[in-house]
Symmetry: C2
Subunit: 469 residues, 2 copies
Amino acid sequence: MNQDSSQRIVEPLRRWIASATPGARLPSTRALVAEHGASAATVQRALRTLAAEGAVETRPGTGTFVRAARAAPPTDYSWQTAALGAPERSIPSISTALRSRPPESIALHSGYPDDELLPVRLVRSAIARAGRSGAAVDRPPTVGDPDLRAWFAGELAARTIASAAAPRASDVVILPGSQSGLGAIFRGLVGSGGPLLVESPTYWGAIRAAAQIGVRLVPVASGPDGPDPEAIDRAFRETGARALYAQPSFANPTGAQWTTDRADRVLEIVRDHGAFLIEDDWAHDFGIDAEPRPLAGRDDSGHVVYLRSLTKSVSPAIRVAAAIVRGPARDRILSDVATESMYVSGLLQAIARDVVTQPAWETHRRTVRGILRDRRDQLVAAVQEHAPRAHLTRIPSGGLNLWVQLAEGIDADRVVRDCAAAGVMIAPGSEWFPAEASGPFVRLNYSGPEPHRFAEAARMLGGVLDGVS
Amino acid sequence: MNQDSSQRIVEPLRRWIASATPGARLPSTRALVAEHGASAATVQRALRTLAAEGAVETRPGTGTFVRAARAAPPTDYSWQTAALGAPERSIPSISTALRSRPPESIALHSGYPDDELLPVRLVRSAIARAGRSGAAVDRPPTVGDPDLRAWFAGELAARTIASAAAPRASDVVILPGSQSGLGAIFRGLVGSGGPLLVESPTYWGAIRAAAQIGVRLVPVASGPDGPDPEAIDRAFRETGARALYAQPSFANPTGAQWTTDRADRVLEIVRDHGAFLIEDDWAHDFGIDAEPRPLAGRDDSGHVVYLRSLTKSVSPAIRVAAAIVRGPARDRILSDVATESMYVSGLLQAIARDVVTQPAWETHRRTVRGILRDRRDQLVAAVQEHAPRAHLTRIPSGGLNLWVQLAEGIDADRVVRDCAAAGVMIAPGSEWFPAEASGPFVRLNYSGPEPHRFAEAARMLGGVLDGVS
């Protein structure tokens, strides 16, 4: 009774219907059974799918017919204009990083790692186990599964310095993905109209979450080594902000990792201003030459709100993340999470916990590190050889991206369009800037499919840059 | 390598630790292997879990020890008070319906159906299939899986009257649960500070979502037959609201189902005011003596935004819902969904689609109808016999709840507390009122565990009511 078995019939039928006259009678169920070597139930399921799509209609006792294209005029929805009004806030359009890949083209634009980088076998067997367990039908507590919370706490505890108190399971709030977590944290700690310091450039999902809530972003320039602590201090002073959002390990897009000195200095400033540091440890599982160094592991007084997701490292299908947050801020954020999502699927939590507590998970992480190193080095070498006009701001020691500066005066959006036409998808740097971009940048992701085509991709980029320079 | 196997050891070890002196040495791995008949890997996983919780510490080469309770003073988080400020809005606390059940007590408070009412076998085999398919590792489009969208459209199309255009798959936005959908719809169509007409009483999750966004609720009284159309007309006129939230089929908590006359009259009023009707068809799969009659199936001009969830009828672990919405309102809502959740787990979507497209799903729905009828009738009879002071406002023809009015002057919250003390969990009616309750009510859910104890529960309720009257 595999659903895919009916899909196998739906596709050829769709093609048949597309070339048939409206009103034409489809072959009988018996004929379709014979033609496709499928069961009658499977054929009927395929017909139901087509009927639901409006492609066919079934007249009981007579047969199934290609539906006549309706000549009805399009509905007029203009009354909605007044009801909707202008949107409260202007939200950036969906990022290039979420676009699917046109056939044939090389994808350096996506933010999601290729299957090669995922623990596919572990995920599949964890799903099978979870499907047999209570997790298939149970409702977990709003705050999350106790064992998964303990695991997240333990992960951060392993990177907590001796002088700071290790986080406890009770500090952990399970989230349905880190994007949802950003919304909950920004609403809880900043709120509509409130100021929030961010690195510039910074993660587009954070910019988008802030825009939707009406959080007022205060950009602080961040280079290959992270933001200047004195600039952060100044921005806190001038705006009265009570929170800073940052990615101190392998920032997206720059790849910057803060030194421990810089981390301590920024933490000191955050403490002085009685503020929160919202630490997005998005690349925790993607260290290459360095380990992630969570600032939360250096914090003893609840100033760091720590966010970690498993979506990119376990599977895009396992949308599970966690916020680790102490003090009353935890309750504020939990209340928002409860309202927005009520609870996170216990099935996804059980699968995530199963995967990350297998001994094979550590082996997988080591494998990923090696693959990422190869991919990064290959793309770096290809860009240096074939696209000399593309300036690599930094060879990142972790993460998934190269951040590339283009010569002054070049239109990065045009470069992105020309590259797409040539057959390589890349992302325009402007999507990572909360305000105007500080220059023309593009982002190249080395975790996508077909790494053997990196040289080809770099040649296309090189050709486009030669053309626009 | 089943995770549950280590849980089997964690529990007895926790008890052992609780009664041990700090610093005590745990039995060796070898001893634990022998004692529990588990593998060394399983024992080590159990010890890691306990270490992550801070219950034990492992000294390499020496052994594992019960951790000494730290004498460190509690951390002072009072600095957070100023950083957090007062919350932007006061959000009601988490509903009684989400509480877990104390051991031994009878649960009539929960909003989630018992396993007996879930298609457990279908869910388990769908999980197994999805785990072997691409859904285990793929990222679906933000708007949702095309086949699942087609299924949701087809479901509503089957209840669309001939004179209205059937919804298409492109009108469907897949959501990570209906609670999340309420947030997206309220933000998209009403926005912070905007007025929203709601039935009173109405679903507590909608009240909570509105409170978080800062939507201004305009309650319209709703009785056993639904709200008075003229009262809705008046409320639209007086407030300039552009949206009404309602549950026209088997409303939670009252069980009311609107007649088609009332539905048409309300739709007409909604159209006259250029407004949206947000129809929450939460009990679509829980008809008993009647079928749900979606208003969206009578709408031809994009006035009805239709919300349907599979969480309660498929499994609480499969958090998948859909909004069906036409015109520019769809784009407004989709933009919010993209920002808040980015996309819904493709694994959960594949499982949901698999379950609802099996022929056995229809059989299951018929079975559920029969079970719900028995449970409803048994609880009604038990209340009538053993708790005559509890006034049933209506015998609902669908849904999961009895809405019970108490005599004037009775403190419903006290009744709830006294019932809990006596051993039966029920929910206070006040949670379903957007403002002050119109009288003392309690809600009794007949879909929970142990229906054979309904008579016992009704006797407890009867005893409590005798005591407070």
